[in-house]
Amino acid sequence: MWRLSKIILNNFRPYRDKKTIEFSTDKDKRITIIVGRNGSGKTTLLNAITWCLYGEEYHIQSQKKSKGEESLYILNTKIKRDLAEVSVELYFRHTEHDSSFLIKRKQDFEKINDKMEKASRDKLIILYKKHSSLNWLQEGNPDYFIQTLLPKEVHDFYFFDGERLDKLFFTKEDSIRNIKETIEKLSAIDFIDNTIEHLENVKSIVLRNLKDQPKSLDLLRQKREDIENDINNKKKELNDVESGIRDLESKIEDIDKKLNEYKETKQIIDRRKELENMNNEAKIKLKELESNFAELLITKAIYIYCIDAIMTLSDYIENMYKQGKIPPSINPTVIEDLLNENECICGRPLSNNEKNRLYNILKMFKADQELYELLGGNPTNGLINTIREFIKESDKYKKEILDLQNKIKQKERELQTINDILKNTTQENISDLESKRIEYKSQLNSLYIHKGYLVNEIDRREKEKKDVEKELEKEIKKHNKYRKESYKLDLINNSIKLLNKIKEERKKEIKDKISEKTDQFFKQLIWKKGVYNKVIIDDNYNISVLDNQGNDRLTVLSAGEREILALSFIAAVRQVIYIDMPIIIDTPLARIDEENRENIAKLLPEYLKDTQMILLMTNTEYTKEVSKILDNYVGKKLLLNFNEEEENTSIEVIEGEQ
């Protein structure tokens, strides 16, 4: 297993000059605790790691990020000299064989007009040593190395902020989609997608290179190409729209943070956030209800349309029973025996006339017997029951949908009142911020609508492209001279079909495993035993926590329970799609009330068996009780001290080797 053995920070924000932090790599004592006050450099440590790996700081306030200035901030502000270097080095060591690698990113700065400016682009260097070798070798393709070590898109499952963890399933729909995308990336689904894309490109090349095409074929080919170009343009536009949505969402979040700083508005801002979250949740639930109701309609309403036919059949069957036609009064096998033996019951041989009459009776009884067997009772009873159930279920769905719609409307009204209060407040700063927020929200809604339009259009054009392709391939098959191309196209189409099938199977397998493991971990870790019956994750990675009555309790979970749910989910993802990397959690217990802190502290090492963990905690989190619980697993304890005047963080080892 790979362990992060140390990090060396050089002039990175408050870590002035060279600072080394060594982590515990012990198999049993695999936790390193780093304690520090707010602002002492804990989150910076998380940022230093993502900057070193990906050249970006992910745990920084979004307003700084959106200005694109973060690379300037990384240099300690007290450094004023002609030339300066900022660097972060991560050292990894393997526990079983004596191999190591180090990742270093550095950025040079120079003084221009008394201001420190970037002197060049940052540089990533990776050195490795295999099996006790003394010499470090340099990796030729460092970006690729990082991508295979821990893809950028999935770092959130390894380095995360505990304060944000409980929001994992409580943010906008886009975030849920991100979870889905991230997991699919981890499970190599994107690799299948890339292969399909490559095959589609090959198909385009085959079609483009057809020689001496007759006009009909050329027209179809041109049509396909036009549709394909249109789809590509729309996909590009969709990307821009999605990034616009993300940008606006982060701007709104920043405004909310600022509004939250005003004492007089804090309470209603919190309420607004709560209402918005509840409505997002309710909208997802509404979609699900509508989808289930739609399924009921299309599979069961058919019996409603045919009630008269069902009742007619029912009448026929009832009458046959009443008339004694079914079941037949005589078993046809008795007549068959008489005919075979050619003898009456009394022993007298049968005359030809009697035989003919018996044959006719046999025919009639056989038909009734066959009908009786086919009916097997009265099958219309089952159909009538289905109609009754449909009416009952359909009424239930309609009521639930209406209730939910009303609840959403009610919350929207309350939201509108809050918006009006904030907009019309006499405090200029607040009303300015609120006006901006309204403007962003309106832009955001337009983008959501445009996104919906683009998604539908891409879908429609994809179908159109498929139809044209079919026509085109049919046309190609007519020409003997394109035999080879036709064979190639068949092969490509079959491969795409097969890959799509594999993709769907893999997606389902991964999702099912994650759902099962999350359920298992959550039930093991949660302290309220027996309250929650099942955790279910659907195909879109929406999560439900069902109680014993089958009600979804997700929205009423406490912060601690939500964190446990998120940790269970992350543990499940890590177990299903294993990547050998340590876990680093910033403020893991900050949002948890005192009572439950000890519970989580107790469960953390259990939930991440054999995993190296680095926990960045404040003094208020790292209480005596928590320390007592974690101590068995802790190999090293460090204290961060920040000197504001000097803008310098120093590191003090309070337990473990120096």
Binding site: I304, A309, P379, T380, L383
Partner: protein, 153 residues
């Protein structure tokens, strides 16, 4: 040797080749896609609407589209009910070929209505489709409520 009985449905149920595209288009709809056999679901729905409208159209050119193995027992009895009500002869249920033919012809009429319900210009979103279906079913239930058939339920 085949053990096929005369009451068995033919291997496949057919749709008119001219209307196959409509079935295929509906098959791509999210709502149908998530069912066990989307083509069968659409066929049965079209058949039910066709029956309710009391209109059947013979197929011009048959295209085998739904394996009858996908039809459940309950659904088969719905096909039987339509055939019996249509011919006023219970013995029809022993003739699988004829039961299938009647169902196909009703579906051939109903598919036009179902297709229009979805792709009427006023309906743009998939989510509105179920509301249209629900409205139609509520209308059907309302019209049945006055008849003895419904009160028997």
């Amino acid at each position: 040797m085949s053990n096929k009985k005369s009451s068995d449905l033919p291997r496949d149920l057919h749709v008119d080749e001219d209307k196959h595209g409509m079935f295929k288009e509906l098959e791509e709809e999210e709502m149908f896609k998530k069912t066990y056999a989307p083509m069968k679901t659409i066929f049965l729905y079209a058949m039910a609407i066709g029956w309710y409208s009391k209109q059947r159209i013979p197929l011009k050119k048959k295209k085998a589209s739904i394996p009858s193995s996908s039809i459940s027992e309950k659904e088969r009895w719905l096909l039987n009910a339509i055939a019996v009500a249509e011919t006023r002869d219970i013995d029809i249920i022993r003739d699988g070929e004829e039961v299938a033919k009647i169902a196909e012809e009703y579906a051939n009429y109903g598919i036009d209505i179902l297709y229009n319900m979805r792709y009427d210009n006023k309906i743009r979103k998939q989510s509105e489709f179920y509301q249209v279906l629900d409205l139609d079913i509520s209308r059907v239930i309302k019209s049945y409520k006055s008849t003895s058939d419904f009160t028997l339920l």
